[in-house]
Symmetry: C6
Subunit: 278 residues, 6 copies
């Protein structure tokens, strides 16, 4: 499922070179299928599981600009589509982030799409429908159609998934506009050891592997609702990097344990103690 | 109930050519009756049942422009009727989507009409009443009357229908202004097989028919409240199209199962397994 | 109680000629008394009972302009009294619908007056009080007094009438400003048959009479809380008109039954079946 | 307690001549004491008991302008103190109703003072305090002190008086700024007969007296919580006036009974029947 | 703890000469300590206990301007710090009440500080912190430091003091910025008799003393939650003044009893009866 | 972990010289590590524990400007990133506090970060992510990258820490962007005696030590939920300073006891009595 490199592209939004350990589960392949077939892709997964990173990596590899916008309920249609401003010649129109990306041919990644305002959802309907257009009703009613390089991705968090939540928290009509939905999980132990080493600069593989195992124990404790929160690969990287300057247990105190509430800190400390004796 | 083709019409809102498998239940005939007699029509049905598509198809067939607006509570009278803007000559008026369509003689489809703001409902009253006009109180009090080609459609979702909901969620006074109300249902199996084949490009009729049967089983599970959500024809099309590039069960994972919450995914997977063995 | 015709009046708001079957209960006579004595009249009745129509008819008969405004809580004092706009000479005042009608000598009908904002209620107090004036505090504090032809009507719905609702939902202080309050009911059977025939063009009196009887049975079911909603004369007219093009039972499906929720549809279908066998 | 006539005063807000039957309870005397000593007076009483009328009458008698403003929570500081507007020379200040009255030397009556916004309450504190001034912070910080003829009155409704309501619903700090608080009650029977006759033009004293007795029975029913609402002298006047054109029982239907909810109408009809047999 | 008189000061906000009976509890001494050491002082006490008066008196004695602002949740940062206005040269800055007082060297008294908006609390933090400055982020980011004569006082009401209220209703971080907190109580009987006589002009000491005793009995009833409200010295003064023109019991009716709800009026009347027989 | 002095820096936001008793727990060392490695640091601790002071001290020592902003939910993106203003040339952009600090190379301390609005959290994501930039969507979409001297700190209060609060009240995604999280506690007794003496000017070590012990007893009472609130070092300093002018117990009344609610005051008074007999 080859995605061609967008050779001549000079967008200011092309990501810097990335170190990325692609997970073995074929997520990238499905992302690439969406890009190749010009179909929007929705990514669902925990904080820090690598949703943004996978899209950013693919954008870098294919030389496409990537813009991000968070639709957490505070983003208005003004910011999304555009709005009128005023100067001495009167009012003029300024494109919002979606219209700007649509016209520049950049990719766009919509974070927390399940929390978007209904009027933003409706903009997306007509963009992702057979209509494939956006009408600037706030401006002069003009019709905007996407540049051929434009692609749309969305991501959301399943963390409040209870009996009646999950994908359902995304409006069914909007969910229906995403032909491809990828549910992402954490890296495998080996993949994560490799990623942490590469990104923290900490080359002590034994230490890093013990850190990853501690991370996985903490994740299990979260899954079993013994403690609250999430535990990203990024947090392991911070720990590993801090352990280059401080003893590994002291580094754990400031990079891992202190990020838990007083109630959960003890459990986390026990897990750390298990891998790194006092 | 012939609707004449609007031959000379050059509206930018005429839909592109459509592939549409008209359902056998006579919905189109009633839509056409409304158009011919200049009476507004209200369509009630589940997400993805084809409400928008039927109006879009008729607009295309008769060469009429079609505009859509979602009245989900976030659409203000400003966007609907128009508003004052300011430039160096002072303020000036910009028509909203309704007034613009009324004057251009385009058709308009109002989505989620049951959620419209009361002041929008009131605009609609005087447009759909014997008065057949809209007064631009926000502007200079001028009276706008519709172009002879203007037609109005509305749609809404019955999905929260409980003992005291249903049509009732639409204000009685507004409901009263729609002489014709059509309740739409899913396509029959044969109709849906035909529609999925035509729109996905997947010509393996046996596979597509099994997909449609799985879809109908999932719909039954939703109706019986075993799982939550809805299941549109569009979702079957996505699955069929993805199955051209991936094995049918892997395609199901990304196009069907991942769109359910973790709780419901198992039920849906079982139904898929039933038609496509592992 | 003769109301003189306003012979020379050329208001753009004079209603078009009306077909109106005046109910036999003397409502028109009391309306005329209010007009003749320059006293505001409040009309209370179900949706579709003919509140607006009776005022519109009287306005047409006497050649007076009639403006309507809905006070459903979304109408602001800006729209009601007027507001400042800005152009290159600075700000200027634009009259709202009440002030505009007061000065033009048109009649005004305030819909859903029981839902009006408190500041609008207060404007009405000083207009309907001994003061008989409105002060434009938002402008320059000027005092507006009504043109001699100006008349004020209000209407509201008793439909949520429970033990503690009814007229009470209208603020007592405002209710007190209406010397005349008319509670309107549906037309009698004969009156309604006559009205439906005249307005639908369906001259089959036997069919129309059966439709009216079905309507009255449905109204009884609503009154007895077996089903929910309301059933206006307008709905019978739609049915009668549709029955000119479709079989009467098929017309009932789209003009009557589909306007009920799934729960109530069966009851309504039974009533229809009673008058029009399958 | 003589209040001098403000002989040379030409305010546009001087009320027109009033017919006013002063109640025998000495309210006017206390009002006059407040005016003479330049102390604000608060009037508490039911809707229609004559609070506004007593102040209006005194203003007319003494040739003082009277302005009214309702502080029901929708009146902003902008309307009360003033606000900046914009024209081609930039912004300029427009006085609000309080500042305008303070400077013109008119009286002001604040309705529903118990519902005023806290920032309006605070304006009143510094006006009614030893400071006796208002600071226009929204403008340029200038200090406004009242014209010697300026007087301030306030009124409120005790109707929601329960165990913990009553005067208490007025902020204690604001209540403290009114040295004189008058609790007003309905007129006595003789006073009311006289007032109704004078204001309705209905000179049949026997009929009017029976109407007043019916009104007092209805008021008793309200006090005993058998029915809901209030019953002003104004309502008796409307009835008496309508009875000049219609039979007294038919007049009762449109002027009295129809103002009650369906639940209470029967009780009220019984009382009417008691005085005017069918 | 001598506070020097600010001899040359000509602020328009210097209070007029005051009659003030300083309470014997040393409050003034602590206020003076705060002024002398340039430390903010917080006053806590019931409505009418004399919080404002004590600061106003000290300002008058020392010839300092005093400005007041109520922070009851409706005061915005705009009014407090300043805001941009617009004229023909574009926008310009207008100082708010705090910045204006800081620069003029006036004192400022913040009423109801426990109800201030969080962003106002934050302004106060950086003013009262070691930073001793305010940054005008809304303007151009400039830093304002206080004039040497500037002093800050705050007051609040403990009246809702329950188990978890009291000082706690003031944010701990803000409370921490007030080195001195004074809890004020009512005057002693002799002090209050002296104050009432001086301020009402009623020189009948026996009558005034009985009024003060009645006031203290009412206060006890409030403290014991037999009745609701508060009872300020001001209210006794109003009564004493009205008793110069009306019999003392009639004066009590309009100045004391009518300020209580119907439920509490009887208790208050009994206390009055106790000191002034019918 | 040496942090170089920013020798040539002339920022107006460099703090004045500070007296600071560095706690012995190595907090400063971790702060310095964050500064040296350009990693954001989050400080968690009670009001008055010294979070702000530690950053301010480090800024002063290294000659860096420090700006603070409180993100308590009232700070908008406008104030944080910037906004459009208008003058006679039309609209122009004014940088907000974050962008201003980012470009000037000042440090910024974000107070109450756990209460920040979601759209501010999102700004911080892209600043603290691999992107290390902020996009000014409200302006012209330009990209701002931080000056090399720019550093970011955040602080928050754990005071509502219950079973499910604590760090969790900070959004996990944002918490994840802080590699270093420091939980700060009160000073030790000796450290606090030293700090109070240095900052209050009260050199009576015996008295100060007893004050500190009383403070620690009060803190214990708070921790055990016997009383409510917090007790900062600042409060001990105020007491010690006031005790230079008043007897130590009278000073306690105004600097310590009066800051507690009526309910808690007794407990606090007992603790004071324990160290300073009556």
């Amino acid at each position: 499922m080859a995605v061609p490199v967008n050779a001549g592209n000079a967008s200011a939004f092309i990501p810097p070179p990335q170190v990325y350990i692609a997970p073995s589960q074929g997520y990238l392949e499905k992302l690439a299928f969406g890009v190749a077939n010009n179909q929007p892709v929705l990514l669902i997964g925990e904080t820090g599981v690598g949703k943004t990173q996978s899209v950013r990596y693919l954008a870098w590899k294919t030389n496409n600009g990537l813009r991000r916008v968070n639709l957490n309920g505070a983003t208005t249609v003004d910011e999304f589509l555009g709005k009128m401003l005023i100067n001495e010649q009167g009012t003029y129109w300024v494109d919002g982030v979606l219209v700007s990306a649509m016209q520049a041919g950049d990719w766009i990644l919509l974070d927390e799409i399940n929390a978007c305002l209904p009027e933003i959802a409706f903009c997306l309907h007509s963009l992702l429908d057979d209509d494939r257009m956006v009408v600037l009703m706030e401006y002069d009613g003009r019709i905007v159609r996407p540049h051929p390089d434009f692609r749309l991705f969305a991501s959301m968090n399943p963390s409040e998934e209870g009996r009646y939540s999950g994908t359902k928290t995304l409006n069914e009509a909007l969910l229906d506009r995403f032909p491809i939905v990828i549910r992402m999980d954490y890296l495998s132990e080996d993949e994560e050891v490799q990623a942490v080493t590469a990104q923290s600069g900490n080359r002590d593989e034994d230490v890093v592997r013990r850190m990853v195992r501690a991370a996985n124990d903490i994740r299990a404790a979260i899954r079993n609702e013994k403690i609250f929160g999430s535990f990203s690969t990024r947090r392991v990287i911070d720990w590993a990097r801090m352990a280059l300057s401080f003893p590994v247990r002291e580094a754990a105190r400031y990079a891992v344990v202190s990020k838990q509430s007083a109630y959960d800190a003890e459990t986390v400390q026990d897990i750390v103690d298990n891998y790194f004796e006092a």
